[in-house]
Amino acid sequence: MATQAEHHGTRRDFIFVATAAVGGVGVVATVWPLINQLNPDASTLALASIEFDLSAIEEGQSVTILWRGLPVFVRHRTQKEIDEAKAVPMADLKDPETDEQRTKPGHEQWLIMIANCTHLGCVPVGESGEYDGWFCPCHGSVYDTAGRIRKGPAPKNLVLPPYDFISDTLVQIG
């Protein structure tokens, strides 16, 4: 009698455990799509990576383009700006980065940065401030000709988006 009851108990437990386990899988498989729908949709993801033609930007000019909903500065730097940026000793920098780290080799004239001040996200004004770079009107952060933070409350250099040169005039951002 005892063994029969035990055997009975095991089979019963097995069915309950199996049902609960399968039910659990079902719940997870149902809940995940309900959460995943919050993620960026296909139309948003399709614009995660954009191509931009640089050929129309003259030396000394910059344009602001939109990438993933963020403003991005694309600046065609003058030789003077490049020289200035390269001459800065690392010790003077709050967030030390060389000019080479800020640009792509062979394309030093192009500076491509996300245009939100690293302090609280305002868009700095170009070709202004005491370092010939950018000046943020909100709280007075000053960036140099390589977009590095030199003065003011911002903690970091302007952020570089991931990008690559497809050719000398075509750049893929993102």
Binding site: P33, L34, Q37, D41, A42, S43, T44
Partner: protein, 420 residues
């Protein structure tokens, strides 16, 4: 085997925290009494699982609806495309949208089963009149919600359904036109209409949820009716709700999910109308306007009145009969005065019950048929019978019918069944 657990909760807080909570908000006690230990007749059949199925369907509709609202745009210029955007671009959007639109049909399929189950087994009779009335109220709220939801994709059927149904209110004497403009927020169905329908479509399900709480409250005062309609006599007649009915209901829910999934994944548009894939156009009416299937019986009644009755014109007459066909449900507990609840023990009622079901299906069929020739006459006959069932058949049956003998108790009934 007895049913020792079927008395009301003997909850004693185990820990200090539970005791502390129990004195302030006895939510654990309440859950245990009403969701776990609640004594439930042990002879409920599978038709009774539709209550749980409906509760789940309401949750499914609210969850998928809240999600769809995150991606939908209630504007006449953008609504149609935003629904397509959901289907095409949003992660899993095609399935979530299909669950919501097929879900409306499944919700109504389940509610019709639930209502007709209640009608067969006399679940509306004393002391469950309030329970029944709240149920009819939920049904009316569901119809309003479903109608406004159908307008949101802003297809041709959406637009013309909104036009035709709001025009029902225009039939009201004197005040008709001002009410019409009030409802639509304009002289015709347009952007203000779409916006308010979206707002109300989002609101009403929560009102339904609140009435569902009252519905369950009203259920838990007298307890469940059961297939033999004989009151619970002793604890031997019942089992605790959990695990007996939680598991049986869950099994019912899973079974119900199979046809639901079939439609969602293999024919998500088959319950809809192709014309709703044409964007709304106020200058062109589709060749054949037809409501969603779950409105068809009532739509047939609305259309059946094509003649003036004394000073009431045919339009208003249709609206009165349409409204009356639902309002009469509220009075059902007082129209059927038979002391016997379950149709099982009512030999004559049984026949008339199935005749009523067939008549109701015939009305559904006629609601979809073109309003011409023999269909018009049939619709009038079926409409007349629909009302006759409530006003004549049920009261008369209550007087003349001789019911079969009732079992003494649920336990006796199930034992008899087991040995037969």
């Amino acid at each position: 085997m007895g049913a020792p657990m079927s008395e009301h909760s003997t909850y004693t807080p185990g820990t200090g925290i539970e005791k502390w909570l129990d004195e302030r908000l006895p939510i654990i006690r309440f859950s245990k009494e009403h969701l776990m230990d609640f004594p439930t007749p042990k002879n409920l059949n599978y038709w009774w699982t539709f209550g749980a199925i409906l509760a789940i369907m309401l949750v499914v509709q609210i969850v998928t609806g809240v999600i769809l609202a995150m991606h939908y745009t209630p504007n006449v210029a953008l609504a149609f495309d935003s629904v397509e955007h959901i289907k095409r671009d949003v992660n899993g959007g095609r399935i979530i949208q299909a669950v919501h639109s097929v879900g409306a049909s499944m919700f109504f399929a389940a509610v019709y089963v639930h209502i007709f189950r209640g009608m067969y087994f006399g679940s509306y009779k004393a002391p469950r009149e309030i329970l029944w009335i709240l149920g009819v109220l939920i049904f009316v709220l569901m119809m309003a919600t479903a109608f406004m939801g159908y307008v949101l994709p802003w297809g041709q059927m959406s637009f013309w359904a909104a036009t035709v149904i709001t025009n029902i209110f225009g039939a009201i004497p004197v005040l008709g036109n001002p009410i019409l403009e009030l409802l639509r927020g304009g002289f015709s169905v347009g952007n203000p209409t779409l916006n308010r329908f979206f707002s109300l479509h989002y609101l009403l399900p929560f009102v339904i949820a609140a009435v569902v709480v009252l519905h369950i409250w009203a259920l838990h005062v007298p307890g469940n009716n059961n297939p033999i309609g004989v009151d619970v006599k002793s604890s031997r007649d019942t089992v605790p709700f959990h695990p007996y009915y939680t598991m049986k209901d869950l099994y019912g829910v899973v079974l119900f999910a199979i046809p639901f999934a079939w439609f969602v994944f293999f024919a998500p548009d088959i319950l809809g109308h192709p014309d709703n894939y044409v964007m709304a156009n106020s200058q062109v009416t589709p060749a054949h306007i037809v409501p969603e299937w779950y409105f068809l019986p009532f739509y047939a009644i609305l259309r059946a009145i094509d003649f003036n009755i004394l000073f009431i014109n045919s339009q208003l007459g249709g609206v009165i009969f349409f409204g009356g066909s639902i309002v009469i449900l509220f009075f059902l507990p007082w129209l059927d005065t038979s002391k016997v609840r379950s149709g099982t023990f009512r030999p004559m009622f049984k026949w008339f019950y199935w005749l009523f079901v067939i008549n109701f299906l015939a009305l559904a069929y006629l609601g979809a048929a073109p309003a011409e020739g023999v269909y018009v006459i049939l619709a009038k006959i079926c409409t007349a019978y629909y009302f006759a069932h409530f006003i004549i058949v049920l009261p008369v049956l209550s007087r003349i019918e001789k019911p079969r003998p009732l079992p003494a108790s649920i336990s006796e009934s199930v034992l008899g069944k087991a040995h037969a």
